[in-house]
Symmetry: C2
Subunit: 121 residues, 2 copies
């Protein structure tokens, strides 16, 4: 099928846009990508996934799935980290909307949110 250069490019482009041509690399994707990356839905999901993508934070969340709630020092015992690091991690999880915190006297208790349970299921 001998077509001229520019015509072939146009054909490929049309195929891309209609979705029935496997040819590639017409670059109309930056705009769509930017729209996605700027959406709050995307930013929130990224924040949550980033928070869950750390071994010790995921461990804390994983234990919270069964325990209804845990205090900071119990999470410290489970992870073997210093209390400072645990505090940092739990603040990050709270900021991401994956846990809620409740203070009772000296102790700080954490519970999973429905968001977290939804992601892990």
């Amino acid at each position: 099928m001998p077509t001229s250069g520019s015509l072939r490019v146009l054909g490929e482009r049309l195929g891309r846009l209609t979705g029935d041509d496997p040819n590639c690399c017409v670059a109309e994707y930056e705009g769509e990508a930017r729209a996605i990356a700027d959406s709050s839905e995307f930013r929130d999901a990224l924040k949550q996934l980033r928070a869950l993508g750390d071994e010790n934070r995921l461990l804390a969340v994983w234990m919270l799935r069964r325990k209804t709630e845990l205090c900071a020092c119990e999470i410290q015992a489970a992870t073997g980290l210093t209390h400072a690091t645990v505090s940092h991690h739990m603040a990050l999880l709270e900021e991401a909307g994956l846990v809620t915190a409740r203070r009772q006297g000296k102790w700080q208790y954490y519970q999973l949110t429905s968001d977290a349970r939804g992601i892990l299921r």
Copy 2:
């Protein structure tokens, strides 16, 4: 309620184990934590969440949710990264079981797995 020291500790511990006492910091958590952290279920979930916790990888996955499949150079156009970095990211997503790859001629096409769709939903 004046109880002796050791007796109070025992009481708190019992309360912890039965789950109806908010007292804290009896450290029987290391064992459970290790069991979780060693489980393949946990390792796999961690690998997937870590893979999704990067802005550009999540962007690629996000676009794949609507497009059924995209080739590497389209993902490159969307992210604005070099092809080398895109290749690295997509290999990571594939290794985590979040995308499958299909080669057709010069082009490498990626599709989401049901795992990925399940996590994002």
